[in-house]
Amino acid sequence: MLVDLYAKKIFNMAYQFAGSVPEAEDLTQDIFLKLHHALPKYDFGKNFTAWFLTLAKNALIDEYRRTKWEKKQRGEFDESVHAAADADDPERGLAEEETRRVLWAGLNALPPDMRMAMILKEIQGKKYEEVAEILGLPVGTVKSRINRGRLQLARILKDRKVSAHVAL
């Protein structure tokens, strides 16, 4: 039941955070193992989804902090993302795909807390209030963290465009 409801959500969260499918699969399994151990402590008065996503967020950030020295690069973007390219306008589609590739790699440059906030808000489309509940932070802090992350990624994208222009 919990697997049916949450496997996709947690797997995507792990994939977007860690950047590779095999790692995301291992992380998802660890998170579900942690969930089964933590379930007896769940307070039924709380929002289960937010509680579970907080548990997943903590597991992902802990794992990142434990292994950050071993990890320098994210994996390549999944094939299904390439399929999302604009079929009507191939040139525009390629430009968008390149932007997604740069951002995918750029997520690694963000600190883990900022990366998690960006993933929840910008990729998963959650509201600021929901992100704040999952991260256990005030809404204002979450908002400024996300805005700084967006700006940092915009700078990475701009630098990449400048260097590509110079190379041409």
Partner: protein
Amino acid sequence: MSPCERIEGLLASYADGELSPEEKALVEEHLASCPDCASLAACLKSVDAAFASFPEIEPAPALINRLRAVPHPRRRFRLSFDILLRPSLQPVFAVLTILAVGFSLYMASPDKKRIDQAINRQIHLGYSAFEKLTSRAGALTDSLGAAADNLFVSLGNLNPLGKAGSSDR
């Protein structure tokens, strides 16, 4: 802080349409004259658009099977006091507290003997009242039984008359 740094700090809110008209005019004026900041603002728009188009990917069926096989922890017997903190038990605790206070007052009372005697008297009174009630109930059932007997006898007497009436015809 340089004008570009100041504008950079406003760009995210500008992209979200959250600036006041004055701030918005300030940003637009700066972007019109600064290609570097204009390029950054365009990149910020691209970032937002690209993130919005990141698709979700399906987990592999093998992973789903692995997740279904994640072992549930064995329930160990644990003495837990959580159950005692349930709000539904609060009236029970209130009644138990009142009873405990009453009992301790009774045990510590200097007039315990008199209270005991009063309780005994009440019990005796109650018992004798109950006995009276049962004897009255017995008398009532006796009289009801007698009345029923009388009724049956009367009905028995009426029946031969009916028979005699039918034989006359």
